[in-house]
Amino acid sequence: MLKVKGLKAKIDNKEILKGLNLEIKPGEVHAIMGPNGSGKSTLSNVLSGKKGYTISGDITYLNENLLELEIEERAHKGIFLAFQYPLEIPGVNTNIFLKTSLNAIKKAKGEKELDAIEFLKLVKQKASELKFDEKILSRQLNVGFSGGEKKKNEILQMSILNPKLSILDETDSGLDIDALKIVSEGVNALRNKESSFLIITHYQRLLEYIKPDFVHVLINGQIVKSGGSELALELESKGYESLR
């Protein structure tokens, strides 16, 4: 599904990713762990198309050159980034935003757009699965949301948009244990043979709830070690120092 070869990314003349290789097949869950400043968020930004990076190397997604696709085209083709810091958008109603987003993707896929009633039914169902108070959805997007509500809102968007490749950028940070469980259940509910996940995290904690197929250690812009889910436990006890 996703093939990253020799990916280098520079911002303001500083090289952050220094030749990263990664392959994700349909249905797989990959976790990327690494210390602060290792390039984890840069990787998620580059995959979702954020501007401002000078990029070299290859990224193939569903047999297409991902780097040639605009941000929204990547979303249309099933890439979803759950933000580490979801933005507050004043004056934009959450429900309207969700509907605009879903219908933009449906339209790009040539599917029938949902009308207001169909949409509300879908949102209601997804929100209740995530134990997400529907009332929040009539408020301005992320404005005044608690940290946990913002993260749940990301997962709600993910479950409504039903992406092929979901990138979770430190979704666990700032979550209490109950919220972490709900978020993990939300992710696990979306796991199937076709959907893949790239989970970026500092801590092993999240991986207790979402069991990854592969764990990669990202240090200084490169993947220095890859393994199964047991690698996360090893890192938890030994830290990153031994791998530097």
């Binding site: 954020k50 958008i89 004056g91 309207i96 935003f97 933009a104």
Partner: protein, 413 residues
């Protein structure tokens, strides 16, 4: 200038005026001739050089029009919205309809000889005093609230060119009465100067809600002056939607003459191309426990220029004044210009007054966030801009009119 004098004499001759009225008009006209259109050397006009704007947009400005009164195109009336009407067609009142109301409670005067001349605080008001040919005074009697809003239509037809129109209304709200007013422009003409003076006397416990909508794109140059006098415990709510004209300066002079009166002025300036709009306010706190609130949101694109000059004056008598103003501007490219000039002039010591101003571009991270959810760049910007403007629109307290204005802006919910 010679042509202007000939025009003036023609206009005066065409009206049946008392000699006293003619003399006052002459005095006002001479004041205008002495000063001419305001230019940037006048402090209040330093961001909008009207003299230059008029001379570069209008060739051979005439002070009167020979046009026959056309029939009003009724399709432009706001539909599915019951309302009273005053219709100015090319500057002349063509129709007044208060059929929604108890006619003993709403009094109308159109006699030019009873027309009160407004204090000539600038040459444009003098010009209006001198050349106003059609005028209406609306008096809402004590304890009467109008059943339906009043829409004052300002319609121009496409055969009107290079002409100065001087419109005038005077609205009096007696004790404990209320009125919802919409001033709506429907410009089908090009390159005219439209000069509007409106006076509002709002007595004790009365409420005025005044919404101005300049929504239809046009190349006219406009000046709208509102003078508002507020009695004890009265309220004036103003909303300005400024997006249609080539140039418009909305000036509001509001006198909080008695205690517990309050004034709200909220507005949107949303411009493209080389449009140039200004909002100028003078809020005069002249009594204790008075309150004012102003929020102006501007969105500028292309080569547009937006200006907000907001002054809060607090008299030494006006203790416990609460005055607030905030201006936020979005400058969508580097050729746009926004000028903000907040002024606080305070002579009382126990007051709460504050002002703030920000300007900047759209947040790139917010655009990235929305695009990462499948929205196009254009859709994302529109959503963010609508969200930015909504803040001011939400200040409108009349739900029906708020929805109407949201529809005009294109905010959907």
């Amino acid at each position: 200038m010679e042509q202007l004098k000939i025009d003036f004499n023609k206009v005066i001759e065409s009206l049946k005026l008392s000699s006293e009225n003619i003399n006052t008009r002459k005095k006002n006209f001479n004041q205008f001739i002495e000063n001419g259109f305001p230019n940037k050397r006048v402090e209040d006009w330093k961001f909008s050089d009207l003299n230059q704007i008029i001379s570069s947009n209008i060739e051979n400005l005439r002070l009167h029009s020979n046009l026959e009164l056309n029939k009003v195109d009724e399709t432009i009336f706001v539909s599915k919205f019951a309302h009273n009407k005053i219709i100015f067609l090319n500057g002349i009142i063509s129709n007044i309809d208060f059929s929604q109301e108890d006619e003993t409670k709403v009094l109308l005067t159109r006699d030019l000889n009873q027309n009160e001349f407004f204090k000539e605080s600038n040459p444009l008001i003098s010009l209006n005093n001198a050349l106003n040919v059609s005028y209406v005074k609306v008096t809402v009697k004590e304890n009467y609230s109008l059943n339906k809003p009043l829409i004052i239509y300002n319609i121009t037809t496409k055969d009107l060119k290079s002409t100065a129109l001087n419109l005038k209304t005077n609205i009096v709200l007696e004790k404990n009465s209320s009125l919802k007013l919409i001033n709506l422009f429907d410009d089908n003409s090009e390159n005219n100067f439209i000069n509007i003076v409106q006076n509002f006397d709002i007595a004790q416990d009365a409420i005025l809600k005044n919404y101005k909508i300049d929504n239809k794109k046009n190349s006219n140059i406009k000046y709208c002056y509102n003078n508002i006098n507020l009695g004890k415990n009265s309220i004036s709510e103003n909303f300005i939607f400024s997006t249609g004209s080539k140039f418009i300066k909305n000036e509001i002079n509001c006198n909080l003459n008695n205690e517990y009166s309050s004034a709200f002025i909220n507005g949107i300036i949303n411009l493209t191309n080389s449009q140039h709009h200004e909002i100028k306010t003078n809020i005069n706190h002249l009594a204790e426990n008075t309150k004012s609130y102003q929020l102006i949101k501007s969105v500028l694109n292309d080569n547009a220029k937006g200006i907000y000059q907001g002054k809060i004056y607090v008299d030494s008598k006006a203790q416990k004044t609460n005055g607030y103003q905030l201006s936020k501007a979005l400058l969508l490219n580097e050729n746009t210009e926004f000028d903000g000039k907040p002024e606080l002039e305070i002579y009382a010591d126990d007051v709460k007054c504050s002002h703030g101003a920000t300007s900047g571009n759209l947040d790139e991270d917010a655009i990235f966030y929305l695009m990462s959810r499948g929205l196009s760049n254009q859709q994302s910007k529109e959503l963010l801009i609508n969200g930015f403007l909504l803040d001011a629109v939400e200040k409108i307290t009349d739900e029906e009119i708020k929805d109407l204005i949201k529809k005009m802006i294109g905010i959907t919910e």
